[in-house]
Structure formats: structure tokens, C-alpha cells
């Protein structure tokens, strides 16, 4: 009985610590937004310069990796989709299959993973080093709020970058995937394009915006939060960076799963199944 109660205690501690962490991260979203609105000294020029650097690093410099990933993923899904659907006489469903598999599910997840690996780590270690080097303290001592000066432009720039990268991923995966595998199938492009256009709905646009914008926000707010959690010593920086990656992946995947689950539950409800 004592062992069981101990396990329940552990579970309770785990749940409450995770809820507390989530609340702290959400609070930082609000505080950075609040600080940016109230910071009368920070000009648009300051925000735009950090934001542009963030978009350049997170978005533009990630294009080669995203291109490779989009082409390979797109090719695999086009091939698998066409071969399997053709066998069951449903090749005209290729558009629906790709929209669901690529645009709704794989695209947002792979884009988020690339951004976490490339930029999330960079932001967490950059902010962590700033903390260890007392740059954050220095900004505060000069009356510059780190939440508006450091956090907000990185988060906002991250959201823009993830949205752009995800859009780029979809285009390259859907079109590039078709053309790369062209010599392995004989589907006419007009048929393929028509199937895709018919499959796209407003729901897909909504899911695209929801998943990607929130993934961008989650990644950069978690990474900034972890970076700012460095107390004094540079030896903490690799630890918080690792933690930032782990937490970002968990939050992004859980969020994606939640959106997908809510969407399909809603779809089943509309169909009268539940």
C-alpha cells in the first residue's frame, strides 16, 4: 500500500511540476507581449533589426535542409500513395492522401523539428550565454526590458519563419515530390494537380496556420525560457539547451496531436458518427 501511495505521490509531483512549467512558459508569452506594448523607448527599428536577423537565420538559412527534407518526404509519399492507391483503384484519392499526410501532419512536424534542431538550440544557448555573461542583467540595469528586447523579436521572428518554412515545405514536397518520382509512374501532372486542388479545403488552411504559428511560438518561447533560466555559470548552458530541445519537441508534438485529435473529433461529430 505504501509503495502504491509513493507512486501516486511521484505521479502527482510529475504532473504538478509540468503544469507549473507550462504556466510559467505561458506567463512569459504574456509578459513579453506586455513589455513590448509598454516599452515606449524601443523603436520599430530595433524590433525589425532583430526580427530580420531571426527570419534570416531561422528561415532563409534553413532552406537547403528543408528543401532536401521536403523533396525526399514528398517523393516517398507520392510513390507510396500512388502505388498503394492504384492497387485498390483509388488513384484519384492521391490529392486527399497527400494533403492529409503532408500538409496537415508531416509538414508541420518536420518543419518544427528542423527549426528546433537549428534555431531553437541556437536561441537557447545564445540567451543562456547572455545570462551567464550578465548581459541580461546589464540590459535591465540600463532600463531595457529583456522580454521586449530579447524575447519578443525572437519569438515573433520565429513564428514568421516557421510559417514561411512550412509553406515552402508543402510546395516543394507536393510539386518536387511529383517531379522527382516522375520516371517511376505515369500519372499526368494535370490529373495530379487537379486531385490536389480538389482536396484542399479551408480546414487545411486553418490547420496549417494553427499548427505552424503555435509551433513557432512554442519553440522560441521554450528556448528563450530555458536560456533565461541559467543562473550564473556557463556550464549550465549546454544543460539548458538540451532541456530546451527536449521540452520543445514534447510540447510541439503534443500540440500537433491535440489539434489533429480535435479536428477529427469535430469531423466525426459533423458526420453524425459521435
Amino acid at each position: 500500500m505504501g509503495v502504491l501511495l509513493g507512486r501516486i505521490d511521484d505521479l502527482g509531483r510529475f504532473v504538478t511540476s509540468n503544469i507549473e512549467y507550462t504556466m510559467r512558459v505561458l506567463l512569459m508569452v504574456y509578459l513579453s507581449l506586455r513589455a513590448t506594448i509598454l516599452d515606449q523607448a524601443q523603436g520599430l527599428r530595433t524590433i525589425v533589426s532583430v526580427l530580420a536577423a531571426q527570419v534570416y537565420f531561422t528561415g532563409w538559412q534553413a532552406l537547403p535542409l528543408i528543401t532536401t527534407l521536403a523533396l525526399t518526404t514528398g517523393s516517398v509519399l507520392v510513390l507510396q500513395g500512388l502505388s498503394n492507391l492504384t492497387m485498390v483503384g483509388g488513384s484519384d484519392m492521391i490529392g486527399s492522401f497527400l494533403v492529409i499526410a503532408l500538409s496537415r501532419e508531416t509538414g508541420p512536424l518536420l518543419t518544427a523539428l528542423v527549426v528546433i534542431a537549428r534555431s531553437g538550440t541556437a536561441v537557447a544557448s545564445e540567451v543562456g550565454n547572455m545570462r551567464a555573461n550578465r548581459e541580461i542583467e546589464a540590459l535591465e540595469s540600463m532600463g531595457i526590458n529583456p522580454l521586449s528586447f530579447i524575447v519578443f523579436p525572437r519569438v515573433f521572428g520565429g513564428v514568421i519563419s516557421v510559417l514561411c518554412l512550412a509553406f515552402y515545405f508543402n510546395v516543394i514536397a507536393l510539386l518536387g515530390g511529383f517531379f522527382v518520382t516522375r520516371f517511376l509512374h505515369d500519372i499526368p501532372f494535370n490529373f495530379y494537380a487537379d486531385s490536389l486542388l480538389q482536396a484542399f479545403t479551408m480546414d487545411d488552411v486553418l490547420i496549417f496556420l494553427l499548427k505552424n504559428s503555435f509551433s513557432g511560438m512554442i519553440i522560441f518561447i521554450v528556448c528563450c525560457y530555458q536560456g533565461l533560466s541559467v543562473k550564473k555559470s556557463p556550464h549550465e548552458v549546454p544543460q539548458v539547451t538540451t532541456q530546451a530541445v527536449v521540452n520543445s519537441i514534447i510540447y510541439v508534438t503534443v500540440f500537433n496531436l491535440t489539434v489533429t485529435a480535435v479536428f477529427y473529433m469535430n469531423q466525426l461529430r459533423n458526420m453524425g458518427v459521435i
Binding site: 513589455a35 509598454l38 516599452d39 523607448a41 524601443q42 530595433t46 550565454n129 547572455m130 551567464a132 555573461n133 550578465r134 548581459e135 542583467e137 546589464a138 540590459l139 535591465e140 540595469s141 540600463m142 532600463g143 531595457i144 526590458n145
Partner: protein, 243 residues
């Protein structure tokens, strides 16, 4: 933000202030203290007693666990970042180590507080920084980033950034460490000149350097057992300017 918007800081007072770092003895324990104003004050204590922490609390960089810190009879502990900003811009703080923004040049570090808050027009800000940089003969490092300059220049840049806004309160944490005697003397000359012009009304210094402190007339405040004790007036040894 222009000078008319800044409060004139007349008094600084602790009321029941307590502060303790995790796993350390308390730095301050229910401390009531009226800080001497209008002069240079030297914080003395045994090593590790918490002088830097005391300066950080006075700068609003650390919040005490308990108690109130009054500036002009206003408890600044309860203020938000934005409410405290006018006070903060009248406090210059210099770090014992680190504190420079690494992705900006030395000159940009000095310009940052002036330009961010538009304390003076851009041209005046550049002129003010240029004159300090030339006076301390660090012009050749002005466009370098902190990682590429000698430690003496980094320390000097942190010190100069603390006073470039001409604050009323200046908090110096181990200012002489890493500086040569000539630079220390030149820095004290700048402090004296600025005081003569009506800036840096209240200077608080944490230091172990008897020689550096002997360059200025000062009061002593002892930090001992979590409490502060004031020991008035010690005159500086006479020294010619620039010596």
C-alpha cells in the same frame, strides 16, 4: 525620455530588508538603514558577505525576500519594470565582471543606454561617448567587440557605460580590479569632474582596494552580520588632477 521626467533622488532607505542566496548565510537580515547621500560611500565587509548583492538590490536588479526599499519615500520594490524605469535611468550600475553586450562594439555598448532611451540627441550621444573614449585612449578598440579587446578595456567600458547617462546614483562594484593605477586615477578625475557639474550625486562603491578608495573623500558603510553600519567621513589624500 528627457531630463525633466526624471525624479530627483534625495534619499535611499531600507526598511526591514532581508535577503538570502540559496545555501548561503543571509546577506541582509531585517535591515533598517538610511543610506548617506550626496557623497561617496564605501561598502566594506568580509569577503563574500554580500556587497555585490547589496549593490544589485540598490540597482533594482535583485528583489529582497522581505522588506521595503524607499527612494524619496516611494517603495520601489512594489513597482513594475515600467514604473521603476524613471528611477532606474538615474542609477548607473557597473559590474565587477562581464556585463558588456557581446554582439555590439565597445562604442555601441556605450551608446546603447543613451540612444535606446533617447536621453540626448543622437549627435550629442556620439560626442559624449567619443570624448570619453578619447580621454581614456581606447579609440582604437571602439569598433571592436568585447571578445576582441583586452580585459582592461572591457572593464573600463563597463565603468564608462555606468556613468555615460550622467545618473544621480552611481553603483560601482569592484571598479579598480583590472585597471592600472593611471586609469584608476583618470577615472576618479572623471567622477570628480562630473560631481562638480552636478551629476553622480550619490556614489556607492564596493571595493577592497584601499589605494583606489584613498583617491576620494568617502564615508564607510560596513556590512556585517546582515546589517549595515555607517561610519562617517574620511578625507582623501591630496592629489593633483591627472596624477
Amino acid at each position: 525620455m528627457n531630463a525633466a521626467q526624471f525624479p530627483r533622488i534625495e534619499s535611499l532607505r531600507f526598511e526591514g530588508v532581508s535577503f538570502k542566496h540559496e545555501n548561503h548565510d543571509p546577506t541582509l537580515q531585517n535591515c533598517d538603514f538610511e543610506f548617506p547621500t550626496g557623497r561617496v560611500v564605501w561598502f566594506k565587509s568580509p569577503e563574500g558577505a554580500g556587497k555585490s548583492t547589496l549593490l544589485q538590490i540598490m540597482a533594482g536588479l535583485l528583489l529582497p525576500d522581505r522588506g521595503a526599499f524607499y527612494m524619496n519615500d516611494k517603495n520601489v520594490i512594489d513597482m513594475s519594470f515600467e514604473e521603476f524605469l524613471p528611477y532606474r535611468l538615474q542609477i548607473g550600475f557597473t559590474f565587477d565582471y562581464g556585463g558588456l553586450i557581446n554582439n555590439r562594439s565597445i562604442e555601441d555598448n556605450l551608446l546603447l543606454p543613451l540612444l535606446y532611451h533617447k536621453i540626448v540627441p543622437e549627435g550629442d550621444a556620439h560626442a559624449r561617448v567619443r570624448s570619453l573614449v578619447e580621454r581614456f585612449e581606447i579609440k582604437k578598440f571602439a569598433n571592436e567587440r568585447p571578445a576582441h579587446v583586452p580585459g582592461r578595456v572591457r572593464k573600463l567600458a563597463v565603468l564608462l557605460r555606468g556613468l555615460v547617462t550622467h545618473p544621480q546614483v552611481l553603483l560601482l562594484d569592484d571598479p579598480s580590479v583590472g585597471l592600472g593605477e593611471g586609469t584608476q586615477n583618470a577615472f576618479v578625475d572623471v567622477l570628480n569632474e562630473m560631481r562638480a557639474q552636478g551629476h553622480l550625486k550619490h556614489i556607492f562603491i564596493s571595493s577592497y582596494d584601499e589605494r583606489f578608495m584613498s583617491l576620494m573623500s568617502h564615508d564607510i558603510v560596513h556590512l556585517d552580520g546582515g546589517l549595515l553600519y555607517h561610519q562617517p567621513g574620511e578625507e582623501a589624500a591630496p592629489r593633483a588632477v591627472g596624477q
